[in-house]
């Protein structure tokens, strides 16, 4: 979908919700433009490039919770917590997946820098959490062994 169309649709959606809820304040931000280049990248390195990452520093203040062994790659629970001050976003990059960039979560207006979701993994791979804080990038990784891949399901 074209970015302009998305923005316009989002605007309608936001207006409709506001009208329905009778709220005074407008939703403060429209959806970010979907990172097509990043999500279509076939390597982790290209995905990082699409996010503007040059020198990401490894950080112990990022905590990734995921199973050591995932029997079913179609449903792998992943939780990322960043304790880095002023965390702006968390991205998940799964290196061995056909399209490594998995997701990007941008925080604003009091969201804690914590997310929990379930991902698909095609095979055993590292799961990298990339954190943007104060315009700088930090990473942490965790290896997850996959018994049955989840890309077909």
């Amino acid at each position: 979908m074209k970015p302009l169309r998305r923005s316009v649709l989002k605007l309608f959606a936001a207006s409709a919700t506001l009208a329905a809820a009778g709220l005074l304040g407008a939703r403060t931000a429209f959806a970010a433009v979907w990172n097509k280049v990043g999500f279509e990248s076939k390597t982790g390195a290209d995905a990082l490039k699409s996010l503007g990452v040059a020198n990401a520093a490894a950080s112990k203040d990022i905590q990734i919770t995921a199973p050591e062994i995932a029997e079913n790659g179609a449903q792998v629970p992943v939780t990322v917590l960043s304790r880095i001050p002023n965390t702006q976003s968390i991205s998940i990059v799964i290196d061995k997946n056909p399209f490594p960039l998995n997701s990007t979560f941008e925080f604003s207006n009091g969201a804690d820098s914590y997310i929990s979701t379930r991902v698909k993994m095609g095979q055993t791979s590292s799961i990298m959490a990339l954190v943007k804080a104060d315009g700088k990038f930090f990473t942490a990784s965790k290896e997850v062994k996959v018994t049955i891949g989840g890309c077909g399901g």
């Binding site: 979908m1 998305r6 649709l9 989002k10 959606a13 919700t17 506001l18 809820a21 709220l23 304040g25 407008a26 939703r27 403060t28 931000a29 959806a31 970010a32 979907w34 990172n35 999500f39 179609a74 449903q75 792998v76 629970p77 939780t79 799964i94 997946n97 056909p98 399209f99 960039l101 998995n102 997701s103 990007t104 979560f105 941008e106 925080f107 604003s108 207006n109 009091g110 969201a111 804690d112 914590y114 997310i115 929990s116 979701t117 379930r118 991902v119 698909k120 993994m121 989840g150 890309c151 077909g152 399901g153």
Partner: protein, 104 residues
């Protein structure tokens, strides 16, 4: 066309802890149906979470988020009775929304 979402928001210390379960096939474009044909790619691309009308999370997803996506997050400074809303849009332009009130 989208089936309803499930959402729960509850105070946990200084945070509102929110859990959302969306209903979506999250097709990767790599799966084959019974006839051996590829099922076209179809997934939730964008999710916006808001607290009393203000965006707290602006999310971009790929097809590698698991089917019937789960999302957990926390909102600082929220209190019981506040509104938490979720709006998603998928690659076909379908949308779904849900709103709940933070429980004590």
């Amino acid at each position: 066309m989208a089936e309803p979402m499930k959402i729960r928001a509850k105070m946990e210390g200084e945070f509102a802890d929110v859990k959302v379960l969306m209903s979506h096939p999250m097709e990767t474009g790599q799966r084959k149906n019974e006839k051996g044909e590829l099922v076209p790619v179809h997934f939730i691309q964008s999710v916006i979470a808001s607290h009393n009308g203000k965006t707290v999370l602006d999310i971009q997803w790929s097809q590698a988020i698991a089917r019937n996506p789960f999302l957990g997050f926390r909102v600082k400074g929220a209190k019981a009775g506040d509104k938490i809303a979720i709006d998603w849009t998928d690659t076909a332009g379908d949308k779904s929304s849900i709103e709940t009130t933070v429980g004590a």
